[in-house]
Amino acid sequence: MARGRAKLAVWKFASCDGCQLTLLDCEDELLAIAGAVDIASFPEASRAHVAGPYDLSLVEGSVTTPEDVERVQAVRKASRYLVTIGACASAGGIQALRNFASVQEFLAVVYARPDYISTLERSTPIAAHVPVDFELRGCPIDKGQLVEVLSAFLIGRRPNIPTYSVCFECKRRQNVCVMVAAGTPCLGPVTQAGCGALCPSYCRGCYGCFGPADTTNAPALSGWLQGTGVSRPDLVRAFRTFNAGADAFREESERDAG
């Protein structure tokens, strides 16, 4: 990457702040990271702001306002590499549930004066607006994966982030399959690894917070789950959470299951 210390910027769009907090949650690594890179713009952590261009931009959040449509273009222009962090930036986040409803109705439910509020009909991922160099998944992202992505971009290699399903991690942890053994509905077979198979390790089914794995067969999982008694409305809700806007989950939730 750049000669000298690389310049890092962290940007926020519509989000809960949890993914950028993950950087501050690197308690053992934070001061080392700050020594290795120039944290040029990170408003949640610092008043200091160094103007672009930046070698690496981490972008959190989804695009939900007309102003942010413009802002994301400026972020892209100022960044050599742009990496999205988390389900909001990579798939539109939980706020993409508006994409399946009327945003005007949502506004009226929440605000007495909807006319004060500037918002778009849809919540969209960053890649719907500008080219993205890498999407780091998760709601929230995993700390270890974040450090891996930072290291990879700073060194100039591909990040080593697996795209297989949660089942692989679950087997490696030697968990008993919650679906086979306890009949607990689990999205692990269609969800990308990265969390370390957390939910099955805590005796619950995966709820898909890392979004769809690389090659998924969501209809097959749906069929299997329906065979165990899960209703179609329950299935639709299962696919419509934090990655509702990700293609494989969106398509499955919209599929006419006849």
Binding site: K12, F13, A14, S15, C16, D17, G18, C19, L21, T22, L24, D25, E27, D28, L30, L31, A34, I39, F42, P43, E44, A45, S46, R47, A48, H49, T64, D68, G93, I94, Q95, R98, A101, V103, E105, F106, L107, V109, V110, Y111, A112, Y116, I117, S118, T119, S123, C139, P140, L198, C199, S201, Y202, C203, R204, Y207, C209, D234, R237, T241, F242
Partner: protein, 431 residues
Amino acid sequence: MPAKTPNRTLRIPALARVEGEGGMFIRTRDGRVTDVELRIFEPPRFFEAFLRGRRYTEPPDITARICGICPVAYQMSACLAIESACGVTVDGPLHDLRRLLYCGEWIESHALHVYLLHAPDFLGYQSAIEMARDHRPDVERGLQLKKVGNDILGLLGGRAIHPVNVRVGGFYRVPARAELEPLAERLRWARDAAVATVRWVAGFDFPDLEPDYEFVALRSDDCYPILEGRLGSNLGLDIAVDEFEEHVVEEQVPHSTALHARLRDRGPYLTGPLARFNLNFAQLSPLALELSREVGLEPPVRNPFRSIVVRAVELVYACDEALRLIAEYEMPARASVAVTPRAGTGCGCTEAPRGILYHRYRLDENGTITHARIVPPTSQNQATIEADLRAFVEARLDLPAALLTRQCEQAIRNYDPCISCATHFLTLEQA
């Protein structure tokens, strides 16, 4: 005759070292503050709207996503509200485990605010990273203290941000006693670090400001409240959690996507560490009490800049309390109690790190949510933050604009505002 004070405009387009997106705008004319706006432009995400039609089991996971810094607060208020709607009380060891998890969040959130967000204001740095050049042992202590909070969240919740192990009725999996032992070891270190934190921040300089606040917090005779008790104030408010909406009204203002709350017929109030401390001082642990007195902190503490010291005292308390809960822990036979849905409404209120967080849900007989309302602490504090800024600026109109603006930022950070949280609320009451 003194020189005429020039008219001023103080502007912060985007506040740093807060969670979420907000700014500040202050205008003065003839020595008076004419406009004060804490501008919140964080885009709304409509949680209350899309909670409608979801199952009664879903709010803990969904509402956690309102805030990455205090997800446990959302999970706990949601659980209490839904359990109340279903006529279930979760007590005994499961309640204690919830309290332990919540202590983890207080430690994580308070350490983040004290060390990374607020202390740089008092010592004149742009960030904790810059501060570490001159105060490295302090910053490292803060980071490790924060990490112990995250360790509790990680063990009990599965992960620090958006824990997976919380459910309506309790948990999915409860730890064995032996799993908690290593935590106790780290918490003993953390308690010492918290004591050092109190002494460190107590030595800062605090600008003068002592408004007559109405402090609102949960109140309990049995403990320093986190997820128990009634709502009380220093001016006589004493209500059950489900009376909250009879006493608190919210209104929309043009410069904010978050509603302003006030007590009906009384006005703005303050929620958060200062309120908890002032209303529940006697319930602190002996060590936290001793430390408070050592640094001259006794109720009523009305200087909002001293909230950093109160947060440090609460860090001591949270470590003490977590150690007590671990020492007395006995693994419950079941990880959760059964919660059968029924038609009805339930409210829940808990002490998020930034103050009271209120949830209300209405369920139909199948357990589908038909109505949801969430009132986060920062939206309740907005009007009080603006009142603080008005009083603070009027007394300092002779200061240079850059310095005054910077002190205003510090005054806003007294509240550890969480703007991502604040931008979610509901006003319209459907019949």
